[in-house]
Symmetry: C2
Subunit: 636 residues, 2 copies
């Protein structure tokens, strides 16, 4: 099997619809806004100090480190997003800014290659004394991802060299040898970064270190408890949950793990690295584990929106079918990590079905993390919000009813930005021979091998028109579960819809050939497994890959009293100007209490006809604070 790799971003130019809108937003609003927050130029938001930390570490400024121990990663993810933006839009001004950041990072690098502003400024002797909590390898991983992205975008080697110097240093420090550190990251992502670095450098030491981190994890005696017992050990976060072996997935060797447990972002970054290693090294045990863990996540522990992490305690997975809509964590970063894992599963197996999860996470939980203005973000993505309840019950302290301008822990905004800006790499892949259309977006594709035009309003429109702009265009068109292709023509002649490994192989197209696909975009109910006890008797609505929700702005207060009919008749109209966004309405009912004053009464409510309006979940909370619900009662 030839491996499917992402199409370079430079080869894809979005021409219409949601992806174009989102990329423009990230380019024009999100990246500049985040640049300002990282410089502490935005008033009234949590202080970042991130760039100032680098300036201090680089000797360009005096002062103290400020922020979380993982504060550096915010700059790295911003740089990664900016790199993608430069690759897509070729913006020299942004590139000049990014060059200066690359230089700043280089200046903050220590003579031996080490980079971390917290330890450099505050605890130069404390390096790697707490792998469990210190986040040095986490920051390193995000740095490597950013460096590779920037190198790919600009072909400039400087930042790549900085990264390699750091990675070279890590290969000396960590490993199985005597005198080496036998630990591994407390927060996984170094593995993913090292593998990316390997892919552009072919330096196997990086791949080997990533593999070492994975294989070493869970080995007895466990590393973190030993670390905690060393004299002078510093408990940075002082949260008991962190010490649970499941929290950072150290409870057992990754190749033998069978259930998604612990901190969701850590878990999914690790699974992503495992899938990479399985692909690159042909490691069957890791491949099997990835398959089992993917099922654990997506068949039993994932929200319909692609949110993961059912509890704020440890930002963690809990157990099978425990998916509360209101006390959910559903961190935006975790859904980014789920996209990473699922897309790598397609690379590993060649099976397109995993992309249903990429779409689910992207179009709902990830896009939901960012406001239409591009300057407010969700860290936590609930599926049900009642501001009156959130205000009074401390169980909802982690739930924000509207997006926030910044966070003390600001991992999510830059993570969303880098993901949106690189979505073309998720949407399109190549095995060198065929173009894989994993997600059909309106665009022009121009690359050495492929020249195509795609016209569609996906994820809203139900047609896809592919025009070959050169000869011998070989295309594998994914058949998704959410918007399955129902008719397919080549130059107006019907084509058979034969799906193999999740893809329809189109005939080789000649220049000017036109393929037209129509997809099933009928809105419909989706119900949860009966063990999701908060959703029994309820349904959600999906249309294509988009989950819909009811908002107070359209439906007044009291969403809990709404009921969907058993046999719905949906109407569609455009209410949001957002890439062809479709709003749904249908006639349902609303419970009206016989006595509105009484807490407990002996009569069932009356049910009155009520128009129910549903909007795409990712667009919620763009019209002020109010109730929101994904699942509504169904009443026959």
């Amino acid at each position: 099997m030839k491996q499917i790799t992402p199409l370079p971003l430079r080869c894809v130019r979005f021409t219409d619809g949601l992806p174009q809108r989102m990329q423009q937003l990230v380019k024009e609003k999100v990246i500049p806004y985040q640049w300002d927050t990282l410089h502490d130029r935005v008033s009234g938001v949590a202080k970042s100090h991130c760039i100032e930390n680098f300036r201090i570490a680089a000797g360009l400024s005096q002062g103290e480190f400020y922020g979380n121990i993982f504060q550096d990663s915010d700059l790295y993810k911003w740089l990664e997003a900016t790199a993608y933006c430069i690759e897509v839009f070729h913006n020299p001004e942004q590139e000049a800014i990014a060059d200066s950041i690359c230089e700043l990072i280089r200046m903050a690098q220590q003579p031996d290659g080490y980079i971390n502003t917290y330890y450099t400024i505050k605890e130069p002797d404390g390096r790697f004394t707490t792998l469990q909590q210190g986040h040095e390898l986490y920051c390193a991983g995000h740095f490597f991802e950013a460096a590779v992205a920037y190198y790919k975008a600009t072909s400039k080697r400087a930042i790549l060299d900085t990264a390699c110097r750091f990675a070279d240093y890590l290969t000396l420090v960590f490993g199985p040898g005597e005198g080496q550190n036998h630990g591994y990251p407390g927060h996984q992502v170094a593995e993913v970064g090292l593998i990316k670095l390997y892919k552009v450098t072919n330096n196997e030491a990086y791949l080997n270190l990533a593999a070492y981190f994975i294989s070493q994890r869970g080995q007895r005696p466990l590393y973190f408890p030993m670390e905690r017992e060393r004299p002078g050990y510093k408990d940075i976060f002082n949260q008991p949950v962190i010490n649970l072996p499941t929290y950072a997935q150290t409870h057992i060797e990754p190749a033998r793990q069978t259930e998604a447990v612990g901190h969701a972002v850590r878990a999914l970054y690790m699974y992503s690295a495992m899938a990479d290693l399985a692909t690159l090294c042909g490691d069957d045990a890791l491949a099997r584990a990835c398959n089992v863990l993917y099922k654990s996540v997506t068949q039993r522990r994932m929200y319909i929106t692609g949110g993961v992490g059912s509890t704020y305690i440890g930002e963690s997975f809990t157990g099978d079918y425990d998916l509360p809509n209101d006390t959910i964590y559903g961190e935006s970063c975790a859904s980014v990590a789920l996209m990473m894992f699922a897309s790598r599963m397609t690379s590993l197996t060649g099976d397109g079905a995993y992309y249903d999860t990429v779409e689910r996470a992207f179009f709902n939980q990830v896009l939901g993390g960012i406001s239409l203005t591009g300057t407010e973000f969700f860290y936590v993505g609930p599926l049900q919000v009642d501001p009156d309840v959130c205000r009074v019950n401390p169980s909802y302290a982690h739930i924000k009813t509207v997006r926030q301008r910044w966070f003390d822990v600001a991992c999510c905004p830059t993570n969303i930005a880098r993901t949106v800006m690189s979505i073309a790499g998720y949407a399109f892949g190549s095995d060198g021979n065929s173009l894989y259309i994993h997600i059909p977006f309106a665009c022009e594709i121009q690359d050495g091998r492929f020249a195509l035009q795609l016209q569609t309003q996906y994820p809203y429109g139900n047609t896809l028109r592919i025009t070959a702009l050169a000869g011998d265009q070989r295309i594998k068109l994914r058949q998704s579960a959410f918007a399955p292709i129902k008719t397919l023509t080549l130059n107006d002649k019907a084509l058979p819809i034969t799906v193999d490994n999740g893809y329809i192989t189109l005939p080789a197209l000649a220049n000017g050939d036109v393929v037209l696909a129509t997809m099933d975009m009928q809105p419909h109910y989706v119900v949860s497994h009966p063990k999701v006890i908060g959703n029994t008797g309820k349904a959600s609505v999906m249309r294509g890959p988009l989950v819909y929700c009811a908002e107070q702005a359209d439906n007044d207060k009291g969403l809990a009293s709404l009921a969907l009919p058993e046999h719905p008749s949906f109407s569609e109209y455009a209410a949001f100007d957002h890439g062809g966004a479709v709003t749904l309405t249908l006639m349902g009912t609303k419970a009206v209490s016989v006595d509105e004053q009484t807490l407990y009464q002996n009569r069932l409510p009356e049910w009155e006809p009520q128009k129910i309006t549903l909007i795409p979940y990712y667009l919620w909370a763009n019209r002020g604070e109010g109730e929101m619900r994904v699942y509504l009662n169904v009443r026959p």
Copy 2:
């Protein structure tokens, strides 16, 4: 208005049904079991050390204090329960044991009257340095309640004298005078205890101190923040929520409080004292506040079972209509305190309607706190339990799926015991002229004024037969909201059902007269206010004052998939041998997924006919661990 006071327990002999069963259980199982736990003679349960603490403080033993700072209160509540038991059953063996405890407490008393084993053993110089957290006045209040109960039961003055010496000391320490401590209890209950002490001694200093504690609360500058700033202040519990002024209801003067906030037990003990003071002192401002606070609790912040406290964080009230069934706190002690408050509201106003709340709390949440064996207890009383979820989601860490044999904080078991053993004092009152039947229990009443026989299977049976055993028996029979009297006869001749202030005044009965009442005991649905967002589209079932629930033991797993019909037809049968306990069945439906394997599917479930069995809520979790639900979906 003549004040209604509880009938002395000695005058009521239960002859049948639930109250007799429960009193026997407390006498024969609960009190001996708790005696053993307080002596640490029960293996495998949390260590108490309570009696040993007293022995050390009394100089009878050597050792260290062990346990919570409020550990003494466990013995006091045990003594109170035992006092009631002795008053009811005249058991000389128990009285000898209790006498020895009274003597032990006396020996632990310091020369100045002070009693508290923690401070006496561990911090003799720390008395009253942290009223907010030290619980000395809390323990004192429970001691006063116990001492008064024991004095009333036995007419022995020794323990009353010990209590008065302590109370006298407190009247010196606390008060508005220069050099006096201007603080008040961090955990209210001293006020209730002092008022009881006043009632048996007529020493107004005790009443005045209780009134001082209430009037001083909330005065600016707030006492507790000043206390926290004193040098050497010790933060015992280190829980930030404790420092919220609302937590211990210090945010505003009690007379001006309008909403039930903060720690539910503290709040309701305080409201109880406020009602007492309003009654005894004719304080209209307190009476008005009690009325408003009673409405805040019972009209907006109380579970159908009489549970209160919607969050484990601070064991607290949250806000209006925020009544989650699964993450509820619903502490057994809080429902005991609600019974205390509501019954005092009847004493204050003469209105019997408050007794609906006494019944609601007693028959459901309080009785639910104790197992059929008498040796296991609930601290937290959820209305919905799924053990599979509780096991995996740390938001349910406070929820126990089965009753526990003891607790580190063991306030509830003894509180339930004292309440059950004194239930006759709740059920029957007197204004010196008329007997008030607040709750109709099968019993014989013999007191200087009244001689009556009551025959009923209440709360299960629907008839009440009252036979006068002497002449001129004047009776006020409460008309409850839960089991309203539908027919009433005197010697087989119909009587009019005229309700005044919640009571039907019967004609004066001659010796041998028989009054027969029939009550409406039809099971029926009860629905919550639509703002209780977890309960929309659902109903609970009540029969008389009893709330019913579905258990896995009768209905298999998957209670969330059950649906009640809109028009139910209930059958009744006896499944539990418990005072005539009635089990209900009805035909409903159960959702059957089209595809049991899929987390999210596009088809609504099929609904198949399903017999649904419901048992009284208070009997749940007596057949092992399993799912339980009070609210079930309704499907027309």
